[in-house]
Each structure stands twice: as structure tokens, then as C-alpha cells.
Symmetry: C2
Subunit: 274 residues, 2 copies
């Protein structure tokens, strides 16, 4: 698994003080290149002293039948879940499970690798775009011990109720156990969330071509209402004139980096480093 | 020929006031996508009220033999010259010359197209990267009436004396008339320049893998010295730790946009919009 890291000035894998980090999960078809080259997040991350981590979106080259047949399943489309259905997981001779286990990768293997790079893994935040927005939401909601703040750009907010999500979950989790799907759906997680308070920042473009059928971002606010005294709130902002592209992300990325820097105590709520 | 335009807020092709523009010429292999998606120039351009224009790097699909055989000749590698040698130009039945004429394209056809988009073509500046840095330098030096300021990232500064340039000029301009090459070499143009004063901003990475053999940026300062009372000066800055990539451009792009905004009278030299 490849990933990219941006270290803010005066921090690096060999500097004395571990540096906090924002993990950015990318969308369908992406590699670590897309966001690290096109989101423009490094400028603000440098200003606030935050590292940026760009993981890949799936395992690659496992040789699983069909892994390269569609843009929205298999390679580049891991959906940040731990698959439970064949052929996406396989047991080796020792009974260990391997394959499409992106949730475990992001929340364990990747964290170990970051610690070795002198990232302060006690100060992590998570964000993402589209499929990666879904990934950020579920990772943050399932592991509040690991991620201190959560945001998302144009997330697939209700994967159990949209075509992309239904296709992916049917394959990775199997059609037989739809109850298990809820564990990987941000809205379902919000309804039952009992962890520490989280104010989630979600931005979406008013002209996002996927907003209606695929993203369903308003479902997040409905889910909050279903959780009495919800520790989760969702600041959902629709930006007219913007689509699903990286131009949208680049326009809003400073806000998200500062949002996480505030949550991690790197800058004050108002004013700050600029 | 395709190109992309970023309009600053409150300006567009249908707004009442024409908006000044910075033309960005890209390097080898690029399309209008690379810089518009990866340079991160829009943020500052929005702040100072400058449009950004991203032309292509060559004609495409002309069917010229060999046009797709190499990354550094033909498609994606027009070098911003007007070819004079076959097969890169051809005369039609009316005696009109067509083909690889990127200089004419950038300085005439493109300008006409921009005027139709409500760009103020009396307030233009030009920059570029690598091959496009070369293009910006020669376009600015040959057409000071058109471009009020010039900058470049990691330019091919002396194409008549580097492998990329010699290969391209041999093909586009012919090996027989090397005297004609000087008209397309920034250093040769600086030596003989007699136009209005120009202070050119040039940034290059200290770890640029092409700096030594291909770019020869220091030759620009030598050329200034050979022009007695030169109206041209070159502010050449080497940034240690940076290579030839768009990460370098994204780091310095705010400086370049502000530099051109100052030259066009959009912001004050010090302070300004931020």
C-alpha cells in the first residue's frame, strides 16, 4: 500500500517533535496522487503546522477476478470497509484474512506506518471526498478514540441507500446479511452514536452532479435528528455553482484544514496564524 | 485548440468590465489541465482580480508523420515557436501556412479568442513552466506591446544551447538556418532587447533535475550583462530543496500572480489585498 505525506516546515520524519496529521481519504478511481497534487491543502497545512496524509483507495494488483472490471468496484474503489465476502477476502493457510480490508488498513496498518514517520498518532483528524468522504465519516464515527475531528467534501453519506454504495456493499459485504451493512453507513452510525461530541463539517457543491441520487448528504442531518440528544452535529454547507471536482475541494480546503487545526488545538477558533 | 480560463469572482465572459489576464504556458507533455488543476493559482488570482488562461502546448491530431513518436517533439511539445520546416508546416492550396505555429497562436489567435470572452487584452501578462517558461520569456520579449510583465518557473532559458531545444529547433526551424534560431532564444533576445523596461521574475528549484543541462537559467543573467544599459533585468531566485514538479510551482505561484498583479496595477507593491 502506497501513501503520500506532506510534512509542514520544520517537521519531518527525523525532527524531534511528532507532528499532528490530517488524513485525507480520496474518492473513486483516485490514487494518492490526486489529492496531494490537486487539492492545494499544503499551503494552509504548512501555516498551521499540520501534516497531511494521502492513502490509496484500495489494494492494487491482488489478482482477484474482476478487480479491474469497473471504476466503482475493486481497484480504486475499496469503499473503506472491511470486506467479508469472497472473492474480496481470502484466508491463507494460517487462517488469516487478507484482501479488501481498507477500514483496518486506514485505522491500524496506516497508523503504525505514520507513527514510524514521526507523526503524532494521538493527534489525528480525518477528511475525504466522495467515497473518501464516506470513509472519513465512518472512520471518525467508528473510531472517535483515533480521530479527534471529522469533515467531508461531497461525501457518499448514505451508502446503503445509493447505487454506488449498494453495488459495493453487495460485493464486499454480501447480499445475504444486509443488517451488517449498517455498520458501514454514516447515517446509521450517527443514529446510534454515543461517543464523545463531534461537530462534523460537510461541504457540497450546489451543482454536484452526484448530489441527488448518490451522495444524499441531507440524510446526515435527518440521522442527527433521530439520535435524541445527539453528540453529533453536522454543519452542512451547500456552495452554489460548484460541482464534484477538485476545483471545489481546492476552493474549500483552507476551511477544512483550519477546522481540523482548531479541533487539534493548533490554532484559535477565530483569527489564528494569518 | 483548446484552452481553459479562470475568471475571478464578479468577472465572467458576460460581465460588463473586461478583466486583465495572466497567460500561463505549460511544459512538455502538458494539456490545459495540468496547470489549471495543479498550480493552485486561482486563489490569489481571485484575490487580486486577475483571470488565468491556460493554453495547450501544441496542435493535436494534425496527422503529421512522427508527431506522436516522442514526448519532446510534436504533440505536447510545440516549444512556442512558429515552425518553418516541413513536415511541421504545410501550405494549403491558397498558399497559407498551417501547422506548428504556437507563437502565432499564443500571440494572435488566442488573444482574439480571449477578447471575445471579455478579457481585457490591453492588460495581459505572461508566465510559464519549463518549455512554457521559455515560451513566456520569448513571447514577452518579442511582444512587449502585448505582455506588460514576464515571469517564469524553471524555464528552458537557452534553447539553442540545450538538448531539448536543439532537438526541437532542428526539427521545427531546420538545421540549415541556425541564425534563425536566435529569434526564439530568450538569452539571444535579451542581448539585443531595446523595448520598454522589463524586470523578469524567474524561480527555479535548487534540486531541479533539469537545471544543469536543459534549463541553463543563469544564462539569462549573463545575457543581461551583454546588453549595455539593458532595459531587461532578471530576478533569478533558486529555492533549495525543490525539484521540477508542480509542487514547486504551487509553492511559488502566489508570488508570481501578485508580481503580475502589481505590474498590471491591480495591487500595490507592498501589502495589498491580504
Amino acid at each position: 500500500m502506497e501513501f503520500r505525506v506532506f510534512f509542514p516546515p520544520a517537521s519531518s520524519s527525523s525532527s524531534p517533535s511528532p507532528v499532528p496529521a490530517l488524513i485525507y481519504l480520496s474518492g473513486l478511481t483516485c490514487t494518492p496522487a490526486n489529492a496531494s497534487e490537486k487539492a492545494g491543502a499544503a499551503r494552509m497545512a504548512a501555516a498551521v503546522g499540520l501534516a497531511l496524509v494521502f492513502p490509496d483507495t484500495s489494494p492494487r494488483g491482488l489478482g482477484i477476478p474482476g478487480e479491474d472490471d469497473a471504476y466503482d468496484l475493486g481497484t480504486g474503489a475499496g469503499f473503506y470497509v472491511d470486506a467479508t465476502a469472497e472473492p474480496w477476502i481470502q484466508k491463507n493457510e494460517n487462517g488469516q484474512v487478507a484482501g479488501y480490508r481498507m477500514f483496518s488498513y486506514v485505522t491500524t496498518d496506516l497508523i503504525e506506518a505514520l507513527r514510524a514517520l514521526n507523526i503524532d498518532t494521538a493527534r489525528l483528524a480525518i477528511t475525504g471526498h466522495s467515497m473518501g468522504g464516506h470513509g472519513a465519516l465512518i472512520a471518525g464515527l467508528k473510531r472517535p478514540d483515533l480521530f479527534h475531528s471529522i469533515s467531508a467534501f461531497s461525501p457518499i453519506a448514505a451508502p446503503t441507500r445509493c447505487p454506488w454504495g449498494v453495488k459495493a456493499f453487495s460485493s464486499y459485504l454480501g447480499e445475504g446479511d444486509k443488517a451488517a451493512w449498517a455498520a458501514w453507513d454514516a447515517c446509521e452510525l450517527i443514529k446510534k452514536y454515543t461517543g464523545p461530541a463531534r461537530a462534523i463539517l460537510v461541504d457540497v457543491g450546489g451543482d454536484d452532479e452526484f448530489a441527488g441520487e448518490q451522495l444524499r448528504v441531507r440524510d446526515l442531518r435527518d440521522a442527527v435528528k433521530e439520535n435524541e440528544n445527539s453528540p453529533v452535529s453536522v454543519n452542512l454547507r451547500t456552495h452554489e455553482g460548484y460541482d464534484h471536482s477538485y476545483f471545489f475541494i481546492a476552493t474549500l480546503v483552507d476551511d477544512h484544514v483550519r477546522f481540523h487545526a482548531c479541533a487539534l488545538g493548533l490554532v484559535e477558533e477565530e483569527g489564528g496564524t494569518e
